[in-house]
């Protein structure tokens, strides 16, 4: 059956096909029809469902992306991707982000408004990622029209009315203006059939909906066999990516089973003022509120290191089996009680030493009343030659030093300056550092500050590795292939000005902030 609208003229004249007999009646009917149509459209696109009702609780990760449609281009074109160490995986990732969705921007703006929420359990391949967003009314309408196109098939799914876009490999469903998409049909069904209490709680919802400057933030629950999973049970993070810089903050909760490892390092620790680091390509400033000896031991335990641990330190402190003093005993005895402010920098790599050697310079705070006596070092044993490796004191330069082998970069030295003991693997660097120790503290408090300037670091490393490539001793590279690779690494590194990490810990968690600054593209 069909209904036909017919128009009749009042004069009873003959109806002429193709001509409106009554403009007023036709218009009225059109208006009514339009109103009905609009009402129907309004009705079917009304915002009936709460987004949070579809957000499953207890999944391994949740991420909220703020304004993904408009922020995507800014994020993808940011220069900070240059800091990504592996070019191939970086390009794969960016390629993924750059993929054209095949829809005009205005359509995307209506399909994804404000935020995109991501949930899932698979933290490695993201195979079950569930994306939830709220569409605008126009977006909802567009989806209706799109669902009538041949590219989408209906999936009854026991009445859940899923839709399957086979070409894109995703299932989706619409509830009111809420759009839910997943490559995993089961994940989508679970989200649509959440029982009472299975959705996220109010606190989580508030956290996800909290406005902020970041581009995305979220939380990942780690399994013990995930990367970092043996140490942390969850990591919450927030990331902002701008044209030439990126900021990330994270809060990692230490796994119960790992707390005994981290305990010695973090117990009683809080963010402390950090001294301005010594200048270098890699700069570190640390303050755990503990002397060097304890930091060494507790850090080693936290990292489960084979040599950075209390037993090794004690072995060095004990000296030789026959009781004879050793250089390691001298160094550990000298630096062990110092702290808590510790600064260590790598100023470069001495490519001309016997073998390429990093030049490390450190400054350690002297505890009150704990000034080490460098100028009262016991003399080398009788018969020792000037070149023999014994701790010595150079009264002219006021340096304690130990000649090892080769040149200056294998000649560790120490000097006192104010409240600091300056130490270095390089004799000349120790002398220079002793005369120019930066003072003051960083604006932020924390336990560890690390700043890396990739360009000099990569230049130093490639210079060092090239020497091994020259004699065929760099695994996997000929000299030619290494030069080609080094050129790429150096070019990438030169686009990144610096990476800065500030971390602090309390008993059961670690907070960290990462900043990446790049040259504009």
């Amino acid at each position: 059956m069909s209904e036909t609208v017919r128009n009749y003229s009042g004069s009873g004249g003959q109806v002429r096909p193709g001509k409106w007999k009554s403009r007023g009646g036709c218009l009225r009917q059109s208006i009514i029809l339009t109103v009905i149509l609009l009402a129907a459209l309004w009705w079917i696109t009304r915002d009936t469902d709460d987004v949070a009702a579809f957000m499953p609780a207890g999944l391994r990760y949740n991420v909220v992306v703020a304004d993904p449609v408009n922020g995507r281009e800014r994020m993808v074109s940011s220069a900070v991707w240059n800091a990504w160490p592996d070019i191939a995986s970086r390009e794969r990732l960016l390629q993924h982000f750059r993929q054209d969705p095949g829809l005009p921007q205005w359509v995307m703006n209506n399909l994804v408004t404000e935020r995109l929420y991501l949930f899932g359990d698979d933290v490695r391949a993201f195979s079950d990622v569930l994306a939830i967003t709220r569409m605008s009314r126009i977006g909802a309408l567009l989806e209706k029209f799109h669902s009538l196109s041949g590219s989408v098939t209906n999936d009854y799914a026991g009445g859940l009315r899923l839709r399957h876009a086979a070409d894109d490999g995703v299932y989706y469903a619409v509830r009111g203006r809420v759009l839910l998409i997943s490559p995993d049909r089961d994940a989508l069904i679970r989200s649509l059939t959440l029982r009472q209490g299975a959705a996220i709680d109010e606190m989580t919802q508030e956290e996800l909906e909290r406005p902020g400057a970041e581009d995305f933030r979220g939380t990942v629950q780690l399994a013990a066999d995930d990367p970092l999973g043996d140490s942390f049970e969850s990591i919450a993070f927030a990331v902002r990516i701008d044209d030439d810089q990126a900021y990330a903050k994270c809060h990692a909760v230490i796994r119960d089973t790992a707390r005994p490892r981290f305990g010695p390092l973090l117990n009683g620790t809080k963010p402390y003022p950090l001294e301005v680091p010594l200048p270098g390509a890699i700069e570190l400033s640390a303050n755990f509120g503990k002397p060097v000896r304890e930091v060494w031991a507790s850090l080693g335990e936290a990292l489960e290191s084979a040599w950075l641990n209390a037993a090794q330190w004690q072995k060095w402190e004990a000296g030789a089996d026959d009781g004879a003093p050793t250089n390691a005993q001298f160094v550990t005895g000298l630096t062990g009680p110092l702290g808590p402010g510790i600064r260590l920098s790598c100023t470069g790599i001495d490519l001309n030493e016997m073998a390429p050697m990093p030049i490390l310079v450190g400054a350690v705070q002297n505890p009150p009343g704990g000034l080490p006596a460098l100028d009262t070092l016991p003399p080398p044993p009788p018969g020792a030659k000037p070149w023999d490796s014994y701790p010595r004191y150079d009264a002219e330069k006021k340096l304690a030093h130990i000649p090892l082998i080769g040149g200056g970069s294998l000649h560790p030295a120490a000097a006192l300056t104010g409240r600091h003991l300056i130490v270095s693997t390089n004799f000349d660097a120790a002398e220079t550092a002793a005369s120019s120790v930066p003072s003051g503290t960083l604006p932020e408090e924390g336990n560890v500050y690390i700043r890396v300037q990739p360009k000099p670091v990569i230049e130093g490393l490639t210079g060092a590795l090239r020497q091994f490539a020259e004699v065929g001793m760099l695994r996997g590279y000929t000299l030619e292939s290494f030069d080609a690779a080094a050129e790429t690494w150096t070019a990438s590194a030169s686009r990144v000005h610096e990476l800065v990490v500030i971390a602090s810990g309390v008993a059961d968690s670690i907070d960290a902030e990462l900043r990446v600054h790049c040259a504009p593209r």
Binding site: E353, M354, G406, G407, G472, M473
Partner: protein, 774 residues
């Protein structure tokens, strides 16, 4: 008339040329500052100098005969490394072509290092110091310019002195020394000496102990001082070291410290001055020889592949400049050849223009010594030097070229390669190496290089264990292995070593690589070196007397080699020694399975249970190679083996046409010789054999017992037996059988069969060693 004018013009030209010699000499101090590392002694570990005992100099003589100009430079340094040479050439005066510049180091071990960027060289020469390189090069160039600036009309002459108490051989006690001291004297037109040059072969290593960190020119410094004191302040004393590889200053008075240094220098100066006074100078014609030849292959991949050789002829004097430290034997042989070609004198100058470490003559290559450990171009380096230097001499004669390698004649055999090799041992090796180049290189790569790359042949002790995983230690581990294997060459015949050298040459591999391939089976059995070539096991069976019917003696032999490898058989027809056929692999020079034209048969199996193999001498197969080349009977071989007590862990089956002579000698803790019982002699006694070998030999014994008379076909069938119900090495023919051979010693015949890739025996090929055979 025309002829007269031409002759007059020619004479006038020669006369003008002859009397146009100009010479100048100058010296510049190159003593470095005290924070400079010293070069020469590795145990200094790159540490810097602590004091200056005496100054160091660059000394230069400029000669120009009107047609040829040269700069002869001697520098108080340990070596002339490439960075220094190149920088000196950049700064040197342009009036003299670079080919005509002779840069030599006195080899003092107490002068500056720090001039090499090479990671390997820095282990001895210390940290690289660009400023030291620059200042040293500049000072050398300054001396060059000074010699040019001071040049004037001059005369030149040369002579030689002899000595018997100034030097001794440090490699072999009482060994060869060079008795000659060469002297060149250059005078100005008034007869005043411009320069006196001494050529003397000995390491300047008199400085030791606490003085090791003092800067010194060593005894050449004392020589300069003493000579210049006598010859006058305008005479520049020069010193060019000779073939000093294994020569050091003698110390008959047991002097210590600097007193020894002074004594050597003064003694040398006195001898030189005495000789110089007898020299009457005259005109000179100079000729420079120069080449940049490719070096023999080296196991040390960090060593250069090309170098520079130079000769300088001053009238009838030949100076041969070598880029390293030749042992005295090489210097003496060069001299003998030069004199034979008409030169009146020859001076070998070592440490010239480059530094490739030591050059050791073939006869000393296996001698455990520092000189051999620091020699990286194989035992053929002496011949290479004679050939290349000979080519630079302008007088009569020449050296044979190695450019043409004859092809080996190939024969037909299923599933393998058959080659006939003819010529000298070296040539036969070359033919083998060339014909099987790919297979030999593949074995080198997979069995040696790859094993090192994988870590199997890398020591896990000492500093080796500290290397991070991104460092590939193979370039160090392979030379180390090669050096360790060299002493095993000690008792081998020259023919065997020549053949190995030839294989290396033909295959384009270092000698050490070919030798390591021969040694790999026994190196594999050592701890902690494991991995290459698993131990081989075999089946050997001799049928003798009536049991062999009219053959009287038959020998069957399977070689079971665990690692898959191509099979090869070589009909070796040497110029000296006996013709023989050996069956093995492309890289094998030794005899695992062989018969010679006298009907002597040798076959060997490794028996792990009786003794581990020893590294105290050559591997068994190389010993049997010499046996098969020279011996005619079982008795000869037994006598040979008797002289080599290091051979352990093998059973060797030896047979000759006299069937009653057939023996198996068990080389275990003690040596047991077995003979045939009821006409059957097995490689291993089934009752005593261990593991799979017991089953294999029991089966062989049973099969042999089942027949009253066994002919060659029946023996071949036994060797092809794969007993049902048995697997792997329990069967005579198994998956690892690489060849199966039946010998008929009386008829000098052998039937060789190689299995196909499925282990099915291929059609046997018969080889005849009768003299009439082609």
């Amino acid at each position: 008339m025309d002829r007269f004018l031409c002759a007059a013009a020619l004479l006038l030209g020669v006369a003008c040329r002859a009397f146009s010699l100009e010479a100048g000499a100058a010296k510049t101090e190159i003593t470095p500052p005290l924070n400079t590392p010293l070069n020469g002694y590795g145990d200094r570990l790159g540490r810097s100098a602590m004091s200056v005992h005496d100054p160091l100099w660059a000394r230069c003589l400029y000669l120009n005969d009107g047609a040829t100009s040269i700069l002869l430079v001697n520098v108080d340094l340990c070596v002339i490394n490439r960075e220094l040479r190149d920088r000196v050439f950049e700064l040197a005066p342009t009036e003299v072509p670079r080919e005509n510049v002779f840069l030599t180091a006195t080899h003092t071990h107490s002068a500056q290092g720090g001039m090499s960027q090479s990671l390997i060289a820095r282990a001895v020469s210390g940290p690289f110091m660009p400023s030291v390189l620059e200042s040293t090069a500049a000072a050398i160039a300054e001396a060059m310019k000074g010699s040019l600036a001071s040049s004037k009309r001059a005369t030149i002459g040369f002579s030689t002195a002899t000595q018997d108490s100034l030097t001794e051989n440090r490699q072999v006690e009482g060994g060869t020394v060079d008795p000659q001291i060469g002297v060149i004297r250059v005078d100005d037109s008034d007869g005043n000496p411009i320069s006196i040059i001494a050529n003397f072969a000995a390491h300047p290593t008199t400085v030791d102990g606490d003085d090791k960190f003092a800067i010194s020119a060593d005894y050449p410094g004392a020589y300069y001082t003493a000579l210049e004191a006598v010859a006058g302040e305008f005479c520049v004393a020069m010193f060019i070291n000779g073939a000093e590889g294994n020569q050091r200053p003698a110390n008959p008075q047991k002097l210590s410290g600097w007193a020894h240094t002074e004594w050597v220098g003064k003694q040398l100066a006195a001898k030189v001055m005495e000789t110089a006074e007898t020299i009457s100078g005259g005109e000179a014609v100079l000729h420079v020889g120069h080449s940049t030849p490719t070096l023999p292959q080296s196991m040390a991949s960090f060593m250069p592949t090309e170098t520079v050789l130079k000769t300088l002829e001053i009238n009838d004097l030949l100076l041969t400049f070598l880029p390293g430290e030749p042992c005295v034997e090489i210097g003496l042989e060069l001299r003998r050849r030069a004199l034979q070609r008409g030169y009146k004198a020859q001076f070998t100058v070592g440490l010239a223009n480059d530094h490739l470490l030591y050059f050791v003559p073939r006869e000393l290559y296996s001698l455990p010594s520092y000189e051999c450990d620091m020699s990286f171009y194989g035992p053929g380096i002496d011949q290479w030097i004679y050939r290349e230097c000979g080519a630079l001499m302008t007088k009569n004669g020449g050296e044979p070229s190695l450019d043409t390698v004859k092809d080996a004649a190939t024969g037909e055999i299923a599933n393998g390669t058959s080659l006939t090799l003819r010529g000298s041992h070296f040539e036969m090796g070359q033919q083998q190496g060339k014909a099987l180049r790919d297979a030999i290189n593949s074995a080198h790569q997979t069995q040696l290089v790859q094993r090192c790359d994988d870590g199997a042949w890398i020591p896990d002790t000492g500093w080796w264990s500290f290397a991070p995983s991104f460092i590939n230690l193979t370039p160090l581990a392979l030379p180390r292995l090669a050096i360790g294997a060299r002493p095993m060459l000690a008792t081998l015949s020259n023919g065997a070593i020549d053949m190995l050298d030839g294989i290396a040459n033909g295959a384009g591999l270092p000698f050490d690589a070919i030798w390591l391939l021969q040694c790999a089976p026994i190196l594999s059995a050592q701890e902690p070196v494991t991995g290459a070539f698993n131990a081989f096991s075999c089946t050997m069976l001799a049928i003798t007397g009536e049991r062999a019917g009219s053959d009287q003696i038959l020998v069957g032999r399977n070689l079971d080699w665990p690692d898959a490898a191509p099979a090869a058989v070589f009909d070796v027809q040497p110029e000296s020694g006996m013709r023989y056929v050996q069956v093995g692999f492309p890289w094998t020079a030794g005899a695992y399975t062989a018969m010679n034209e006298a009907g002597l048969v040798v076959a060997v199996e490794r028996v792990e249970s009786i003794h581990p193999p020893s590294l105290a001498g050559p591997p068994i197969d190389m010993v049997l190679h010499d046996a098969i080349l020279h011996d005619r009977s079982v008795a000869d071989v037994l006598a040979r083996l008797e002289l080599l007590p290091h051979l352990r862990g093998y059973h060797v089956l030896i047979a000759d046409p006299g069937h009653e002579n057939t023996r198996v000698i068990e080389l275990g803790e003690s040596r047991i010789t077995r003979v045939a019982t009821a006409g059957v002699l097995l490689g291993s006694n089934p009752d005593a054999a261990k593991g799979d070998a017991a089953a294999r030999y029991l089966r062989a014994a049973n099969l042999a017992r089942g027949e009253t008379v066994i002919d060659s076909e029946e023996l071949a069938a036994i060797m092809s037996d794969a007993e049902p119900g048995r697997a792997g090495l329990q069967r005579i023919r198994n998956e690892t059988t690489r060849h199966s051979v039946v010998f008929e010693p009386r008829f000098r015949r052998m039937h060789v069969s190689f299995p196909d890739e499925n282990g099915v025996p291929g059609k046997p090929q018969t080889f005849s060693l009768r003299k009439s055979a082609p």
